[in-house]
């Protein structure tokens, strides 16, 4: 009998758990540990943030799904990994602290044969003074945050209707943030709502980002082929900003946020102050606060985790300049060095470096979008690691581990620019691969035929369909496994 413990029940962890449960005999145990009681389709939080969806439409309780599928669920926080066991435990184990209200604060240990760390990000609002719902800005990172953002937005629209001019700032709250795509989506959904409310002319909408150029999205930008013409995501995105009258501040590191004023530094070292009436700024991410200990009880956290808190896997973490970065630096099996039965997937794995070129201001401030590894790549990693573990459990120990490098993986991304079955729009983008491979694809690093971008109502329909499809899949409804990640 084998026991697989999955820390985290987001897109990657939940996908891995469901595939493992489907593929492994019932004699084997699949255990999920998540501090959250609910699963959340995060891409739709932006619609909660403009009041077009409720939290119930983007999330659902995990426990009933796991009960039905035969997955053991602990609503708890993973605290420490002991990959060698210790004097009191012959087998590897993880320490957990329950967040389940019925036993909140209680601790326990779960031994494992295989461990998947899919703990996702810690929302590091503390990195920027005044950032976040406990500070002076709103967020759409969780359904609860998004509800609060929608309430603030409604007040702004009310003031606009009374004839008061308002400045709305949307973007990222630190120079090392990721998820610029989500900030882009929220910007244009808010702009769409302002137009629908008939108050657009009194509103200044500003996109504040750490990206070097519009359309960078943390992946170094893209070169699209469309109707026989190659264009860049920069030109394509700037066109949308011009069409919709949205201003942009680029290459910015937000230093602090006071009530009504954002203070930021730009790459040229200059400092700016941006007054606002409404600000949604995404936080930078850190890894979950997991510790690790060897058999003697010595702390090996720095061996298993990068300083950012993300788990080291089979990547090349050698420090090297941007010009030396290679596609093969990126991990493919997501196994942890030294512990082949431990995997790190989704946002939880430590990327070897950024994808976009990092920059430092004359003042020494790092302004470098972190690489996105959410959505489709996260799900693919979850399924891939589940396949590897299934092979190992079923005795195919000589089988090669399954691989899913982001340098050999494509992504389809649909960025909403406003909701509505007749009036909605979205940008549908595909890129292959996610991490550019300049040896395989000289010039742009990506396939010219598989990297595309298109704006229109059809893309909005696709995003709406994907919302329902992925929630159906996550609920493990009949045939869920036929829906690709």
């Amino acid at each position: 009998m084998a026991r697989v413990v999955v820390l985290g029940a987001g897109i990657s962890g939940h996908t891995a758990a469901l595939h493992l449960r489907r593929k492994l005999d019932k004699v084997h145990q699949v255990v999920v540990v998540s501090p959250n009681s609910k699963w959340n389709w995060i891409p739709s939080n932006i619609w909660v943030g403009v009041g077009k969806m409720t939290t119930a439409q983007v999330s659902f309780p995990l426990a009933p799904i796991y009960r039905r599928t035969g997955i053991e669920f602990h609503q708890a926080l993973g605290v420490a990994i002991h990959p060698e066991g210790d004097n009191d435990h012959a087998r590897p184990y993880v320490e957990i602290t329950y967040t389940d209200p019925t036993r909140s604060g209680q601790t326990d240990s779960l031994d494992y044969d295989y461990l998947i760390n899919a703990t996702g990000p810690k929302l590091n609002f503390a990195a920027t003074p005044g950032l976040g719902p406990d500070g002076n800005t709103v967020s759409v990172c969780t359904p609860g945050h998004a509800v609060a953002a929608a309430a603030d937005l409604a007040q702004v629209i009310e003031r606009l209707k009374q004839g008061q001019r308002q400045t709305l700032v949307i973007g990222v709250g630190h120079g090392t943030c990721t998820c610029e795509g989500a900030a882009f989506e929220y910007t244009f959904n808010v702009e769409h709502e302002l137009r629908q409310a008939g108050v657009r002319d009194l509103a200044d909408v500003v996109y504040l980002t750490n990206e070097e150029a519009l359309g960078d999205f943390g992946v170094g930008g893209m070169t699209f082929s469309h109707k026989g013409v190659q264009t860049t995501s920069k030109t394509w995105t700037e066109s949308l900003f011009r069409e919709r009258g949205v201003r942009a501040i680029l290459q910015a590191h937000v230093e602090r946020i006071e009530p009504g004023v954002i203070h930021y530094e730009q790459l040229d070292g200059t400092h700016g102050a941006l007054p606002f009436d409404f600000a949604m700024l995404l936080p930078p991410f850190r890894g979950a606060d997991l510790s690790a200990f060897d058999a003697s009880g010595s702390d090996i956290t720095s061996e298993m985790f990068a300083p950012s808190g993300f788990m080291k896997v089979d990547a090349d973490y050698t420090t090297k300049p941007y010009a030396k970065w290679r596609a093969e630096d990126w991990p493919s099996t997501y196994r942890t060095p030294g512990y082949p039965n431990v995997f790190g997937i989704g946002i939880a794995f430590a990327p070897p470096h950024q994808i976009s070129q990092p920059h430092t201001s004359p003042n020494g401030t790092l302004i470098a979008p972190a690489p996105p590894r959410t959505g489709m790549p996260s799900g693919v990693m979850g399924r891939t690691v589940a396949q590897t573990i299934t092979d190992l459990v079923q005795g195919r120990s000589n089988a090669h581990p399954h691989t899913a490098s982001m340098a050999a993986m494509g992504a389809a991304c649909v960025a909403s620019a406003g909701t509505g079955i007749r009036r909605g729009t979205a940008a549908a983008m595909t890129m292959y691969p996610v991490v550019p491979d300049y040896e395989k694809y000289p010039g742009t690093g990506r396939s010219a035929t598989d990297t595309t971008g298109e704006i229109g109502l059809a893309a909005h329909w696709i995003k709406a369909v994907l919302h329902h499809l992925f929630i159906y899949k996550a609920k493990a409804r009949p045939g869920w496994f036929l829906i690709p990640e």
């Binding site: 011009r242 992504a411 389809a412 595909t430 059809a458």
Partner: protein
């Protein structure tokens, strides 16, 4: 106006015909099919 806004001001804008096509139901029904096929191709690459 800083560099970003100056660059935005120079960006190409879609023609009225292109804007209408973005919400034209017939055109978008076709694009819905085409984009889905393109995404399925991407999925097949990832699920090899």
């Amino acid at each position: 106006m800083d560099d970003a806004d100056a660059s935005i001001a120079q960006a190409p804008v879609p023609t009225p015909k292109a804007v209408r096509a973005r919400t034209n139901l017939v055109v978008q029904a076709w694009r819905f099919t085409a984009i889905n096929l393109r995404m399925l191709k991407m999925v097949r690459k990832d699920h090899h």
